[in-house]
Symmetry: C2
């Protein structure tokens, strides 16, 4: 299978590239390194330094651990780059991770909000048009997020909802109430992709992914230079990663508000497994298929309890602090999101067992001297408006 990974320098993009290369697929990656620039804007570094993509590709290709990875450097908002890329590569599958990925980043103010929507929506539109021109039969696997749905008081279906209303029925896109300008950019993308499938007969799978945690995959563990980024900061860090770092450096776990916010979670290994299943079981021509990509759901408060327990097992005294919520979100709500389509294709989840959390805690603890404690506390307020971050 010839597969192109957009955003191949990222937390998920790089492990995905190695995963398919290890399986013998023909893998291309593309990136513009915008994420590394966005990190610089907020003074943020991942826990361990990440070699350049060039260096990682060279290292992988020298290891004989699978097929080689080829790389291209360019920006999806430059349509000539996208057209040339698809013409040259001719992919059968395109995995699109190449977007601004952070809700807090998008809420720093007008500049960041507009950049996020422009970057993500225009990049995705360029991709749709370039596919329609150069590889109309290719399968687009697009990364979305569970945060597009918000927290409705009804069960969240996988993208489409069968509605009965006034005695008539239809199958409609699941109505969304996204949680940030970033999440909204993904909602806009999904609407644009559904239209491309409907009007041009394209095939696409939208993966509405939960909160990803985890450090290692089978391939990142092969060599230190093959590692992927681990963010624990207030902009790009996800909640479990942040809690583990807080536990290790001996500061309270920062729960935003009451902690009743319930979300879907998955291990980074399962991200790779889900993308693999989507890629090897493509959508039909004209089909806009949506999977909810997570394996279990917890409240943030429950997650904090799990980290406290893991800390206790490791001999750490871990406490929890409830901060004023910097976000505008329901802190207690109904949440029941369906996620059967990927298991139906064969997903075997890696759940958040004590063993998994203990292993993550131990790995972070080895690097505790590298933690920058000043980049953890939330600094971006959802209600702030056009300048909502201290350095903006």
């Amino acid at each position: 299978m010839k597969i192109l990974i957009l955003g191949g320098d990222g937390y998920l993009g790089w492990p995905t590239a190695m995963h398919f290369a290890a399986a013998g697929d023909e893998v291309w990656v593309a990136d513009n390194f915008a994420k590394r620039k966005w990190e610089l804007e907020d003074g943020i570094e991942p826990l361990l330094p990440i070699p350049t993509l060039h260096r990682r590709v060279q290292r992988w290709n020298g290891m004989n651990a699978g097929a080689p990875v080829r790389m291209k450097v360019g920006d999806l908002t430059n349509h000539r780059f996208v057209y040339n890329l698809l013409r040259e590569v001719g992919p059968e599958v395109i995995v699109h991770y190449g977007e601004q990925p952070s809700a807090p980043y998008s809420m720093q103010g007008r500049t960041a909000a507009v950049m996020t929507q422009q970057n993500n929506v225009v990049g995705n539109l360029n991709l749709l048009f370039a596919m329609q021109r150069h590889c109309p039969d290719a399968h687009l696997v697009k990364l979305g997020t569970m945060g597009e749905y918000g927290t409705p008081n009804i069960d969240i279906e996988e993208g489409w909802l069968d509605v009965e209303h006034n005695g008539r029925t239809d199958r409609v896109l699941f109505p969304k109430k996204a949680g940030s300008f970033y999440h909204l950019s993904k909602v806009h993308d999904s609407h644009n992709i559904e239209f491309a499938c409907r009007v041009w007969g394209m095939r696409a799978t939208d993966l509405n992914q939960g909160v990803v945690y985890g450090i290692d995959t089978d391939q990142t563990m092969l060599h230190p230079e093959l590692r992927t980024s681990f963010h624990y900061d207030h902009v790009f860090g996800t909640v479990l990663n942040r809690f583990l770092v807080q536990a290790c450096i001996g500061v309270p776990l920062t729960v935003y508000g009451r902690g009743g916010q319930t979300r879907g979670f998955l291990n980074i290994r399962d991200t790779l497994a889900c993308v693999d299943l989507a890629a090897r079981n493509p959508a039909e021509s004209g089909e806009f298929r949506i999977f909810n990509q997570f394996t279990e759901q917890f409240s943030i408060g429950r997650l904090a309890e799990m980290v406290v327990a893991a800390g206790t097992r490791a001999g750490l005294a871990v406490t929890v602090a409830h901060l004023d919520n910097p976000r505008v979100e329901a802190e207690e709500h109904y949440f029941n999101a369906k996620h059967t389509k990927l298991p139906d294709l064969g997903l075997q989840p890696t759940l958040l067992t004590d063993a998994v959390i203990d292993q993550m805690l131990a790995t972070v603890r080895e690097q505790v001297d590298r933690v920058d404690p000043d980049i953890i506390a939330p600094q971006i307020r959802w209600a702030g408006g056009d300048i909502s971050a201290p350095n903006r």
Copy 2:
């Protein structure tokens, strides 16, 4: 009331400005004249030449027909223009017509599609942030379109839908399946505005407008230089206007496909009445209110029959031609869209009676020598992809 009309040079913007000025309100208009440039790109002119906005404002202000209109020239995608405008004007109501308004325009290819979404979405985001900064209590009256909904097999409610699903209930945004990249830009806007209301407590009314027809309002008739644009072309012309021109020049009415497409329609006079009602009955703080703004619904085939009948009454032999549909849309479908909220506020509709259609036909017939027959036939194909118009 201090009211700012964005897109004040347009078909609806200019009559709206005069309407409020005639009522004694303090009216400001802003425009960047992008629409006139888009017309040039496709070699399109309105039936009668339209004086510059400067000239029309000067004419209006010299007529003592109401309060003066003040104008500003600038682009909503330039956020500094928007911030300065709102700071200087301090409006109580903002009526936002300032977007690329044509579905066919947006379907000419990648360049037009991306420009449409970038222009509309970024302009609207800049407006939201500037309002949040300079006039957070102002009421945003945003023009959307019924084309955002598509043609669902269930009744179309006014923006929000009460859903029961698996024994639980919620009130959700009505699910949308828009008909073009233009319509999608309005869907994106609506999601962004709903978020701004939810997170910042803004107040907004989204007017999902049907297809507008009509030439005159009470104010445009006061002087030839106060007229508004009348488009009958394949890009900016709406269907009834086009049919009337075709009837007058003796060519068949061009129905796309079978003609079973049903849409909501309204007279331009009712657009002004609806915007007036929305502006004088503002949404609550934090409320995202949605009205379906049309007065009656017809199929395109039925509309053609009405123009044939009007032609017969006027002594014209009018025929109908069914063209291959350049759009991708259902040609036979269920369509029942609610539209009670504006009548509940007091709207007295101007329906498409024989007298109204005969008057429009007579007005167009006086200008029959000005018609350019080469700009009427559809030239933009929905399924065409990245270059879907002959001059792109």
